[in-house]
């Protein structure tokens, strides 16, 4: 197979994903859209008459919605990790998967970004959290971690969107040629006048490297900032210096698990098995193992530190409460999923079995959601004054908003799949050319 053959086959395979959608796609889109609409309607109840629809009460003023926020910010992390950090480290296996990861990142940030607004008592004043000049000379409080959040999440949204679009430009140009109608206009726009000239390639690779370098610290910083929402408080169970690295590792764990969760059905549905190979999945699974072990270590550290305290210490009490109180099922499910799952993956046989990998990654996603629930909710419901202790139970409205967010995310993702190339054509071609050149050189040397 020559390089041009393989170029064509890559382009064909990718273009095939943009074909007329089948019934399954429409059903999936309708399901996701319906779920999102239902969540939106449930949320409108809160906007119309107040947060009494939730199960929140004193002392548990945060619940499902903040859990969702942290969860989705976490999901967003692996995209940048895979596309930027692994790019800088020249990890080849990223090529096939990074576009899906990047799309996931952007849509996950778009989902996460809703929550800080959704959970406000007066969401119509959400813009007060942004610095804007106003005649009342009111400013925001830069000491508040919530303001750091606003900056972290909005920065992350901008950078990850730009990074995605920069990567898409050469592919859009490739797709532009065969496209007609509105698609042609869309790809013309997304190609940003790309013609594949040498100069453009030179600028492009420079720019891509720059953005990769720019996005890399965000992987660490954004979720660290999110962790500060909790760590800078004085609440037992939140107030911990361990939180930033622990949150980053957890975010990558959940993000990579989500990438695998999406890739496994995707490569099947769109016949991308040739491009996204078991080797790619295996490499991602190893990333899951690494971050899973970091997370396990963090859990152990937290528990051991708390266990050293005297019996009357609120910190220790909170950890005992997590393990034995009404939220114990949440805690132990979380341990089983987030510690047990990655450990199972240590076995090559499990890792190489696509169904097992999928099941474990879904379990890790559930476990990571429960981890955030565990952190947010159990700490609040078991504060320093026992007289205030109360158990928070989410209401159907909060569940509707939670699942509605999944609907919203998958709706965006399904639409995105049909509009953007789910794997990077340009980079695959580059790799194919690279391989072909290697093969040619080898043949030449053998022939000699």
């Amino acid at each position: 197979m020559t390089a041009s053959d393989s170029f064509r086959s890559i382009e064909e395979t990718v273009r095939a994903t943009h074909g007329r959608p089948g019934l399954a796609y429409w059903l999936g889109l309708a399901l996701a859209g319906g779920l999102a609409a239902f969540g939106g309607w449930a949320y409108s109840l809160i906007v119309r008459t107040g947060l009494h629809w939730t199960g929140l009460q004193r002392p548990g003023m945060w619940g499902n919605l903040i859990t969702d926020f942290v969860f989705w910010v976490g999901i967003a992390h692996s995209g940048t990790l895979i596309s930027a950090i692994l790019y800088l480290f020249r990890a080849r296996f990223r090529t096939a998967v990074y576009r899906v990861a990047e799309m996931m990142t952007v849509f996950a940030v778009m989902t996460a970004g809703l929550y800080p607004i959704l959970h406000l008592g007066r969401p119509w004043f959400a813009y007060w959290l942004f610095p804007y000049p106003n005649q009342r000379e009111l400013w925001m409080n830069f000491r508040s971690p919530l303001i750091w959040d606003v900056f972290a999440v909005s920065t992350y949204l901008i950078v990850s969107t730009v990074f995605l679009l920069v990567g898409v430009a050469p592919d859009a140009a490739a797709l532009r040629g065969r496209a007609t109608g509105w698609r042609r206009r869309l790809y013309s726009f997304l190609a940003f006048g790309w013609h594949g000239t040498d100069e453009q390639w030179r600028h492009y690779t420079r720019a891509y490297l720059f953005f990769a370098a720019f996005a890399t610290p965000l992987v660490v910083s954004v979720h660290s900032v999110v962790s500060w929402d909790f760590a800078v408080s004085v609440l037992p169970g939140w107030h911990s210096t361990l939180f930033p690295p622990y949150f980053v590792a957890g975010a990558i764990l959940s993000g990579v698990a989500m990438v695998i969760t999406i890739l496994v059905p995707l490569r099947r549905a769109f016949r991308l098995e040739d491009l996204i190979t078991p080797r790619h999945l295996d490499m991602l699974a190893r990333l899951v193992i690494l971050t899973g072990l970091i997370v396990t270590y963090s859990y152990a550290t937290e528990i051991l530190l708390a266990a050293q305290e005297p019996a009357s210490d609120p910190e220790r009490s909170t950890f005992l409460y997590r393990m034995t109180g009404p939220y114990a099922p949440v805690f132990w499910t979380m341990i089983a999923c987030n510690c047990g799952g990655p450990i199972l993956l240590l076995s090559r046989r499990v890792r190489r079995s696509t169904p097992a990998l999928l099941v474990i990654c879904v379990a890790i996603n559930v476990g990571m959601w429960l981890e955030r629930f565990n952190i947010v909710v159990t700490s609040l419901s078991h504060d320093r004054l026992p007289f205030d202790w109360r158990v928070y139970v989410p209401t159907w409205v909060e569940w509707a908003v939670t699942f509605g967010a999944f609907g919203w995310f998958f709706f965006l993702f399904l639409v995105g799949l049909k509009l953007l190339p789910p794997v990077s054509i340009a980079e695959l071609k580059e790799e194919a050319a690279h391989l072909a050149a290697h093969a040619g050189a080898e043949e030449a040397s053998r022939g000699r």
């Binding site: 009494h52 004193r58 008592g121 004043f125 009111l138 971690p145 004085v234």
Partner: protein, 964 residues
């Protein structure tokens, strides 16, 4: 220029449209209705934006505390005590604070009503109503005496005088006027009559007592004059060692008064008398060598015949505890022993009262702490026998007209008395109630009375105190003061009743001469200025002439010194202990929103009745808190949720006074109502309910949140917080701070209700309470002990915003909605708050409340809203502001008067109304201020000090003297 017709809007067209639009706007119906009427002649005294204060008196119970009503723009907004009044001394209890809600109650009758043929109450005019009543009275009088009856609350003043004159004119006998005070300690009156020959209640003065023993007398909740007694008790508190006033509580259930007690003698229900006899025995025992009053000495043989072990067995407690109490009382004179209260008012409560009186006599307390001769004799509650006689007369059809004046027999008497059936036999029941109560359901004519804040009357709660009740605002509805109605109806009789006028104001004026003469010792030459001054002050107060000390009739005491009955062996039934709570009192006014919303201090339950069961009983029955249990006595059966509390004996069950308790209580056949001791069977129904509870865990879990001190360890342990990297925050002028003396705090909740009133804190209802969304800014946190199942060690912690110097809530707010002011206040800016709720999460004290939904202030309750305080909308956080509006008011007053703020100028609503003065507010920058001095006290500690939030509230630890 192009062709004009081509233009979109030409000059003519424009004028046409503009003219038409202008005309249409002029024709709109809206334009005609809005009319501003300038205040050409402003009402006298009213300055918009400035409060105007009136002195009056509280009518929520028979104590007669003075009231200062704050009015704004012609409407009352807040009730506070009258600092000059000798009873309340500026304080009001929770019910007194809530009285303003009965003024603005949405269900208040708007005018007179008559029950029509269809059985529904329909409006009538006052003339018609009074004519109908006059006709009925005349017809009933013609049939002979006893056909007209009046059931009234205690009216020791002008209203009572009007009632008596009216009844006389209507041809009634004196006994046809029955005075209903369900919680009156009638056995004490009976015992006083039997032993001393004076049928009156003594006035208790605890200010000299070194030890107080309450045999079920709930002086913090409802007994006699709770504000006064709690204050007198607390005035001897807050100090260490022997000088501290001690309190012992005797009863099967630890009442709120018992929480303030240093010792709980947990006798069985009905065992109080055995404890009292045991104390008397301990005093009279010649071996003890205790000096007792000679007049009691002859009774010694009658007392000493009871063996200590026998008495202890009858009491259900160990003998040494009783003996120790006797020794302590002998050593710490004078003391005061109080009995009975509802929780000890068993069938033999007269004997209990008699024995306790003998102990008081033996210790020389009578005349010092238990003072006879102060009963004004103006009015006295009828005995239960008289009430029963009335009910049977009603039931026998012997009564044609029954007048109910602030007496609610259906809502305050045991259902077993058969009042409902009896009322059905009366052709005309006339109610003067302000709003629907159970008895108005049986009324044929409703003649709504003025609220006390709209009425003129005087009250003589005891000799030397004349409280003047005057209107603080114009009546809200077409109501008429009951006295006026009686006088007007009396004028229609033939011959007319001898009333000089029909105006209650004239009655008070006419009686003023008598009061002034008593107060001044001689008739004043000109009464008008004297009475005017008294009205401004709130009453006439003077030292009454001492009455001769009554002498004991020793022979009469003998029957009371028999051994109390032994508990039936092997009885499985529990003893029902019905207790009144400080919020609901005897049941009148218990439907006021604040009183239902504020959780009970002991159980933390709101909006619901509950049955207190001990953990052992609950285990035996297989019930947990929140399980619905069926409670049955011989009189009835009700279902209530259980509340498991270690504060009740295993052989007793506590039930708050209310409709459920009334359904269970026996009718009784003695001279007093029986609240305690009815055998009750409790069974699980298998149903469960979400009990509206404020508490999470009632245990401290080893955290030492509420430390106590002893003489040996006079200071609570405090962490060393000297290490800091941050500069001290600067408070240039003031640093507002508070000190709360937990040795004085009784948990009576007056402050909580006052806070609701002052700060427009909304009432959210039972569902919100179940969901943990109670909005109160102030809460009484009550811990039962250290660990579940451990020793009972009740501690109260009044929790409100601590106004921390390093407030953890402040840095986390993204929009500066909460911040630290230069005066040290942690303020909350409602219109800047976006509702992230992070401040609450980061508050270690969890004192912030969130508006989960828009609060409703049902008309006309909204008229009570304090115009100086914003009503918060949904989506924003709120919390205690240290009554910033009162701070600003005091600052402005001082500035107007050109003087600096003095200590005591600023008083928060909670501190203002605290009966025990446990709360002190002031400027911590002023080292001489009371709050500064208290903060430096050895007992001072700060809540959760290790968090280093540096709260502005200093708590002074409760003193717990351990028994040797």
């Amino acid at each position: 220029m192009s062709d004009p017709s081509q233009r979109l809007l030409g000059r003519r067209a424009f004028l046409q449209v503009a003219g038409a639009a202008g005309a249409a706007a002029g024709c709109s119906p809206k334009a005609a209705t809005e009319r501003l009427v300038p205040w050409m002649v402003a009402p006298e005294d009213i300055i918009p934006g400035r409060p105007l204060f009136y002195r009056t008196a509280c009518r929520e119970c028979s104590a007669g505390c003075g009231v200062t009503a704050r009015t704004r723009e012609g409407r009352a907004t807040k009730l506070e005590g009258n600092p000059e009044d000798p009873i309340g001394r500026g304080a009001l209890c929770a019910r007194g604070q809530a009285a303003i809600q009965s003024l603005y109650h949405p269900e208040r009758f708007k005018g007179p009503l008559r029950r029509g043929a269809g059985g529904a109450l329909a409006p009538v005019s006052w003339d018609e109503a009074e004519d109908a009543l006059a006709k009925a009275i005349a017809a009933a009088r013609a049939k002979g005496p006893g056909r007209i009856r009046l059931l009234t609350r205690l009216e020791p003043g002008s209203t009572g005088a009007v009632q008596r004159t009216f009844m006389q004119a209507a041809g009634a006998r004196p006994e046809d006027r029955v005075v209903l005070e369900p919680l009156d300690p009638a056995p004490l009156r009976a015992a006083s009559e039997a032993l001393l020959g004076v049928a009156e209640l003594p006035v208790v003065d605890l200010s000299a007592a070194r030890t107080v023993v309450a045999f079920g007398a709930d002086l913090v909740e409802t007994w006699r004059s709770p504000v006064e007694l709690a204050r007198q008790l607390a005035d001897g508190r807050g100090r260490l060692g022997a000088e501290r006033r001690r309190l012992a509580w005797v009863g099967p259930r630890l009442a709120l008064t018992g929480v303030s007690a240093d010792r709980w003698i947990a006798c069985r229900s009905g065992g109080e008398r055995a404890v009292a006899l045991g104390v008397l025995r301990g005093l009279l025992d010649p071996a003890s060598g205790i000096e007792v009053a000679e007049e009691v000495r002859p009774l010694a043989p009658l007392v000493l015949r009871h063996a200590p072990a026998e008495l202890a067995a009858r009491a259900g407690v160990a003998w040494p505890g009783i003996e120790r109490l006797a020794r302590e009382l002998a050593a710490r004179r004078p003391s005061a022993l109080l009995a009975p209260g509802p929780q000890s008012q068993a069938p033999d409560a007269t004997a209990l009262a008699a024995v306790v009186l003998l102990v008081n006599l033996a210790l020389g307390n009578v005349g010092r702490t238990v003072r006879y001769g102060l009963d004004p004799g103006a009015d006295a509650p009828s005995s239960a026998a008289e009430v029963r006689a009335l009910v049977s007369a009603l039931g026998a059809g012997e009564v044609d007209v029954l007048l109910l004046q602030h007496a609610d027999p259906l809502g305050t008497l045991p259902a077993a008395l058969g009042v409902r059936e009896a009322l059905a036999r009366v052709p005309l029941v006339v109610s003067f109630a302000l709003r629907p109560d159970p008895s108005t359901g049986a009324a044929h004519l409703v003649l709504p009375d003025h609220h006390a804040l709209e009425a003129f009357e005087d009250l003589v709660p005891r000799r030397g105190v004349v409280a003047l009740v005057q209107p603080v605002m114009a009546p809200l509805a077409d109501t008429r003061q009951a006295s006026q109605v009686l006088m007007e109806v009396g004028a229609k009789l033939t011959p007319p009743a001898p009333f000089p006028s029909t105006d209650p104001f004239d009655v008070v004026q006419a009686r003023a001469a008598e009061h002034a003469r008593a107060a001044l010792g001689a008739a004043p030459p000109d009464l008008a200025p004297v009475h005017r001054a008294a009205l401004q002050r709130g009453g006439y107060w003077f030292e009454p002439k001492a009455a001769p000390a009554p002498a004991l009739r020793a022979a009469a005491a003998a029957p009371y010194l028999d051994l109390p009955p032994a508990p039936a062996p092997g009885a499985r039934a529990l003893a029902l202990v019905v207790f009144p709570t400080p919020l609901r009192g005897d049941g009148r006014g218990a439907d006021l929103p604040w009183l239902r919303e504020v959780p009970d201090a002991l159980s933390s339950v709101s909006w619901s009745p509950w049955l207190e069961l001990s953990p052992a009983t609950a285990r035996r029955l297989g019930v947990r808190t929140g399980d619905v249990v069926a409670v049955a006595t011989a009189a009835g059966r009700v279902e209530v949720p259980a509340y498991v509390s270690p504060g009740v004996r295993d052989d007793a069950a506590g039930l708050p006074l209310g409709p459920e308790a009334l359904a269970l209580l026996p009718a009784g056949d003695g001279a007093h109502l029986v609240w305690a001791g009815a055998p009750v069977t409790v069974t699980s129904t298998g149903k469960r309910t979400r009990l509206p509870l404020l508490e999470g865990s009632p245990y401290q879990h080893g955290r030492q949140l509420v430390p106590t001190v002893t003489a040996a360890a006079p200071s609570p342990p405090r962490p060393d917080l000297s290490a800091t990297m941050y500069p001290e925050p600067v408070h240039p002028e003031h640093r507002w701070a508070m000190a709360i003396d937990l040795d004085r705090c009784t948990g009576c909740q007056a402050c909580v209700v006052a806070c609701h009133a002052e700060n427009n804190v909304p009432v959210m209802g039972p569902d919100a309470a179940r969901e943990g969304r109670y909005m109160g800014w102030l809460k009484v946190e009550r811990y039962l002990g250290d660990e579940p199942g451990g020793a009972l060690d009740v501690r109260l912690l009044l929790m409100l915003c601590q106004h921390c110097t390093n407030g953890p809530c402040e840095p986390v707010c993204p929009v500066y909605a909460t911040y630290h002011t230069a005066e040290g206040l942690n303020t909350q800016i409602y219109n800047r708050c976006v509702g992230t709720r992070y401040c609450s999460n980061n508050c270690p004290y969890k004192v912030r409340t969130f508006n989960w939904r828009d609060a409703r202030f049902e008309r006309p309750l909204d008229l009570q809203l304090n115009p100086d305080v914003t009503v918060r909308s949904r989506g924003v956080m709120e919390k205690c502001t240290f009554c910033i509006q009162r701070i600003r008011y005091a600052e402005n007053e001082a500035r107007d008067e050109g003087r600096p703020l003095a200590d005591g100028d600023v008083v928060t609503a909670c501190a203002q109304t605290c009966p025990t003065r446990a709360i002190v507010f002031g400027d911590a920058k002023d080292p001489a201020s009371r709050v500064s001095r208290l903060s430096r006290d050895g007992r001072a500690f700060r809540a959760l000090e290790e968090v280093n939030a540096r709260p502005a509230i200093a708590y002074l630890a409760r003193v717990k003297e351990r028994e040797p």
